[in-house]
Every structure is written in C-alpha cells, then in structure tokens.
C-alpha cells in the first residue's frame, strides 16, 4: 500500500503537470484527496508495522500524518477557490496543483521514514515542490522569495548531509554501517562522541530551515509571505512539523548518550534566540502574512524549549506542535478572504473586519486567542505544561525571560489583530467590498475547534500516541 500510495501520488502529480483541462485537473485533485485519506486510514491500521524497509508507522509519524491529512483537505479546497478566483492560466494551475500534491506526498513519506538518509531525500523534495509554489505569481517579488528560499534550503540540506557524514564516521566506531534510527539506537553507547557532537550541530542547523528556528529561519518567512495563502498554510504548519520530525528522531538518539545535556544546551540557545527574534519582528511587522509567519517561529521556539526542558515538556512539545499546525493553517486559510475584502496585505490598510465578514472575523479572533495561548485555546494547556517543565528543570531565569518576551508578543499580536477587527480605516470604498460567504470559513472553524478540543479534552488514543512517541526519550 505504501508503494501504491507513493507511485500513485507521483503519477497524479505528473498527470496534473501535463494536463491542461480544468475538469480533469479537479478530478485528479479529488482523487489525491481520497488517496491521502485512504493512506492515512491504512497507516492507522498498520500501526507499528514497517513498509518497504524504510518506512515505519510509528506513533510520532502517525500522529503528524493524521494532522497533515486533516489539513490537506481544506488546503486543496481553498486552493480550488483561490485558483478559480484568480483567472489562472491552465499552465500555472497545473504547476500549482502538481507542486502541492508533490509537497504533501513528500512530507507524508518523510514523516514515516525510519532512516536518516530517507528523511533527507524527502526533505530535499519538499524544497523543490515548495519553491514551485512560492514562485506561483511569477513576478519580481515572488522570484526574490523563491531564490532566497531555494538557496538557504540548499545550504541547509547540505548541512544535514554533512551531519549525516559525521554520523557515519561516528557509527564506524561501533562497527556498523546502517544509518536507520533503530540501529543507531542499538549502538548508541558505542558512537564516537566527538563526531556525534559535530553531527548533531550540523543536522540540527540544517533542519532549522524547515522548522523555522534561528539560524536558518529567514527563508521560511519570505516563502510564507510570497506563496499563495493555501500553500502558505501548508508551509507554515505541516512543513514545519517535518523539520521537527527530523530533529526529534535524531535528538532521541543523542539524548540517550553522554551528550544529553550538551544537546539540550544547544537547543535552549536556538529556541530562546528564536523567541527573541520573533518578538522583535512582531512588534515591527505590518505585513499580515509575515506576522503569522513570525508567530510560527515563536511557537517553534516554545516547542523546542519544551523538548530541551524534558519531563512533562516532552509531552507538551508534541501536543503543541500538533495544535499549532491546526491553528496556524486556519489563520492562513482565513487570510485570502481578508485579502479579497481589503485588497491589501498591510495591517495599515485593514480594519473593521467584523463589519464586512463577521464569520471570518470570528475565525481571526479565535486564531488570535489560540496563537497567543489564552484559555480556552488548546495551546494554553501545552504552553502551560512547557512552562511547568522549565520551572521543574530549574531554568527560572530563562522562564522569566521567555514569559516577558511572550507578553510582548501578545501585546504586538493583539494590537494588530484587534485593529484589523474593530478599528475602521480611512479611505475604504465600501461599495467595492465583496460579500463573502460565511461557508468559506467553515473549514477554519473546524480546525480551530479541533485544536481546542484536542487541548482541553484529548481523546485517549491521542494521549497514548504522544506518550508512546516520547517513550524513547530519557526521563
């Protein structure tokens, strides 16, 4: 089934790319939606099995795969709306959907990969497909965003490869040459610490481009800004989770060696710097999409803090990353309706949104409450647990600094969102504002409420999956 999914996804992407007929295009997209759903169900039934030798349906992969498939369906639906409204040429429509299918399929395979080189290959594929999505508008700014994204991702992916080479040197001391995660776990005590240290540095740095942490976060911001919003939703949620998977699986091995505290220190530094950078930009930013993107960076910083703090933080980190994916993708799906109302990306030109599209405005408000982790949002639970893990790990100073920074983030985010929702802006021609159907916001409501429900009243299966995923980490 895994092979069927993999080949079918690539065939669908190829057909989408070659086909110019609108009806056939949408039939193929629906087919892919069904394929993705079917594969996810299959993955649930073959829990803990291995397919094609390199793919294992383990807890973390399954959890994030379900998240991805839930986000995929609205992403395809909103892409359809987006393309329909923009009078795209058949060619650009074909490239857009082919790239999206390729992106989703690559992310799926990367989640399930149990071998570090396989994750690496599929991460490279996501760079290719994401760059096609970013270049969708084919103007100067889109080109600039694409160029930066491709270049930085290429360097990052090279860093990961160097890390893999160092890891292989480290593994040679154990007399083995199989780089699968289970094998690395078996030989973890015999790995050479010097090479392992270098490997961790390079692999961590490389994956931060996808995860959105300091030092390589910059490309992702431009990418989410220039990509069409439905694609931006994928880049800002599930693609970031891919970076998390890459780091998490390798970190689990390093955490079981003598380098545990050193690795935590590295992650602490990167995570707190990320939160700091996100805070600084959040206070200045006037571009709505970029504001959402910086908010994502701040959240990834919080997630990595939880991972490094340990204890209850492990559980909270994975919970947070799942919930963040739902909330952030919901906000990005909402953005297009906002843009259609005001024809602008700038916060300065947007205001009084409640008057023009109440359904969408409530989504923004819910998204704001969720993204800033105020109750009743589910992220409140995970963030609270992460702070508790920092407190229990005696990182008091760091905790105080992070809380201060997050307060500034809430102020900046709130200032912008509340202005967009309630303050009228001068010079808006109300006759030009289109009527937007509230039905378009239904998917966002579903995503937001899923995040609230999973945070406040998580089903037993969900909790068990997370607990099983963090079993390999030392307590």
């Amino acid at each position: 089934m895994t092979a069927i999914y993999f080949i079918a996804a690539f065939v669908i992407a190829g057909l989408l790319f070659a086909n110019r007929n609108e009806k056939v295009n949408y039939i193929l997209v629906i087919l892919f939606g069904l394929l993705q759903t079917g594969f996810t169900l299959f993955a649930c039934y073959s829990y803990k099995n291995t397919a094609l030798e390199y793919f294992t349906f383990d807890s973390l992969g399954l959890l994030l795969l379900i998240t991805l498939s839930i986000i995929t369906l609205p992403a395809l639906f909103h892409s359809y709306l987006y393309i329909k409204r923009h009078n795209e040429t058949p060619q650009s429509r074909a490239i857009y959907f082919a790239a999206m299918v390729l992106l989703i399929a690559s992310i799926t395979m990367a989640y399930l990969a149990n071998h570090i080189a396989v994750i690496w290959i599929f991460t490279e594929l996501t760079t290719l497909s994401a760059s096609m999505l970013i270049y969708h508008h084919r103007n100067k700014l889109a080109l600039e965003g694409t160029w930066k994204y491709v270049f930085i991702c290429a360097i990052s992916i090279t860093f990961v490869f160097i890390g893999i080479l160092f890891l292989s040197l480290s593994l040679q001391h154990a007399g083995s040459s199989d780089l699968s995660f289970s094998n690395l776990m078996t030989y973890r005590d015999q790995l050479n610490p010097f090479w392992l240290r270098l490997a961790f540095l390079f692999i961590f740095t490389g994956f931060t481009a996808k995860l959105g942490l300091v030092p390589m976060y910059t490309a992702g911001i431009d990418a989410k800004d220039k990509a069409p919003a439905p694609a931006g939703a994928l880049l800002a949620s599930v693609l970031m989770n891919l970076g998390f998977v890459g780091i998490f699986r390798f970190y689990a091995i390093v955490a079981n060696t003598s380098l545990f505290h050193w690795a935590n220190l590295i992650i602490f530094i990167a995570a707190s710097l990320s939160i700091f950078v996100a805070t600084v930009y959040m206070t200045k930013v006037t571009n709505i999409k970029r504001m959402f993107a910086y908010s994502g960076i701040e959240h990834m910083g919080i997630v990595m803090l939880g991972l490094a703090a340990g204890g209850v933080g492990y559980y909270a980190a994975i919970l947070h990353i799942v919930l963040h994916a739902f909330v952030k993708s919901g906000l990005f799906f909402q953005f297009n309706q906002l843009y259609r109302t005001f024809q602008s990306k700038s916060i300065l030109h947007v205001g009084n949104y409640f008057k023009y599209n109440p359904a969408g405005a409530i989504v923004l408000l819910l998204g704001f409450i969720s993204a800033t982790a105020m109750p009743p949002s589910g992220l409140f639970v995970s963030e609270f647990l992460i702070f508790r893990s920092l407190f229990e790990g005696n990182h008091i100073i760091l905790l105080v600094v992070v809380l201060l920074l997050l307060t500034i983030v809430i102020w900046a985010f709130g200032k912008n969102i509340l202005k967009m929702l309630f303050l009228p802006v001068a010079g808006i021609d109300e006759t030009k504002i289109p009527k937007i159907s509230p039905w378009e916001s239904v998917t966002q409501y579903a995503l937001m409420f899923t995040a609230i429900w999973l945070g406040l009243n998580p089903p037993t299966v969900f909790v068990e999956l997370i607990k099983d995923a963090i079993k390999i980490l030392p307590n």
Binding site: E124, K148, L169, H173
Partner: protein
C-alpha cells in the same frame, strides 16, 4: 598522490580568494572537478565497478565540464560584468582563508581517530567555510551560486573519506549535487537574469516587514 591532489585543492581555494574576475572562479571550479575525479579514482578502491564509474562520470562530466560551461553561458547570456565585486579587499580575503585553513588543521590535529584520513577532513571543512565566506563577502548572485558549488565540492571530499565503507553516502552526495545545482542554476538564474537588470544582491532587498 591523493595527498598531492588534495593539497592542490586547498591551493585553489587560496587562488580563488585573490581572483579578480568571475571567469577565474569558473575555471577553478572546473579544476576542482578534475581534482575530485582523480581523488575518487585513487581513493575508492573497495566499491563496485559500476558505482565507481557512476561517481567518476558525475565528477568529470557534471562537476568539471557541464556546470562550468553552463556558468560561462549564463555569464554571457545575462551580461554579467566580469568583476567579482567583493565587499572586502583581496588581501584580507587571502588572510581570512589562510586562517580558515590553519584553524581546520589545528582542529583536525586534536582529533584522535584512526578511522579517518585527516587530510580529507581538513580539505572538506576548509572548503565548506571558504564557500560560506564567499557567499557572505561577494556582491553578485552568481558568486553566491559559485560559493555554494564550492561547498558542494567540499562535502563531496568528505563523502569520499567514508566512501569505501558506505558507498551509498557518496551516491547520496551526488544526488544532492545534481539536484541542487540543477535547481539553483537552471531555473532561477535564468529567470533572475531576465527579471533583474543588474544581477546584484542589492536587488534582492524588496521583501521587507514594513
């Protein structure tokens, strides 16, 4: 013999640091491709023949011929001026790259490892940092691309060091090489030359937060 080739590789880095014209960069990249061909031929003794042939073809055809020719074509087509336009004087570049090499040698000497031929480690790390330095210190986008290609060469040298035990890693490196180079060179530089009048990093500063 391998050592001689790798030392020539390091010297080529120093040569690039004082080069004044972009054409010199292209030639040095091509030279590095030929050197890698030689090193591969001498180093990979224990791998299957067809795999060795594949790697040799990649170094000689792709790294030493195709990419430099394509770069030359791009420079002509996009009417890129021949100066490299560094932010720093050449002399300082030379000092910095010498420092990079010295530091990597010192670092390598602190490693107690019987499994690794140290010269591979030194050459690859020096090339990596030199490439990063080029990306940071040169103005034109095309020199950024060349810096990236240089990093790729450095990574390739490192993958040769473990090539006998894990030939698949060398193949992965080749995959990265071909994929990233084609992506970067083929699609975007072509378009960048068409869209941006001057092929300069200063042109790439329109995406802002405010």
């Amino acid at each position: 013999m391998t050592n001689v080739l790798l030392i020539i590789f390091i010297i080529s880095l120093l040569y690039v640091s004082i080069a004044n014209r972009i054409v010199t960069y292209v030639r040095v990249l091509s030279l590095q491709g030929f050197i890698l061909f030689g090193v591969t031929f001498l180093q990979l003794q224990d791998i299957q023949t067809w795999n060795l042939v594949l790697i040799l073809l990649e170094t000689i055809i792709f790294k030493a011929i195709a990419v430099p020719v394509f770069l030359g074509y791009l420079i002509k087509r996009n009417k890129i001026t021949r100066e490299t336009e560094p932010y720093l004087p050449h002399f300082i570049s030379l000092i910095i790259i010498t420092m990079i090499v010295v530091i990597t040698v010192l670092l390598a000497n602190s490693i107690q490892d019987t499994k690794l031929d140290k010269i591979f480690f030194i050459v690859s790390l020096s090339t990596l940092f030199t490439g990063l330095y080029f990306i940071a210190s040169r103005k034109k986008i095309i020199t950024h691309v060349m810096g990236y290609l240089m990093i790729e060469n450095g990574v390739f040298v490192l993958s040769l060091a473990v090539g006998n035990e894990m030939p698949n890693l060398v193949n992965l490196g080749i995959m990265l090489d071909v994929f990233a180079s084609v992506l970067i060179l083929g699609i975007f530089l072509n378009k960048i030359g068409d869209v941006f009048k001057d092929v300069d990093v200063d042109q790439l500063s329109n995406l802002k937060d405010y």
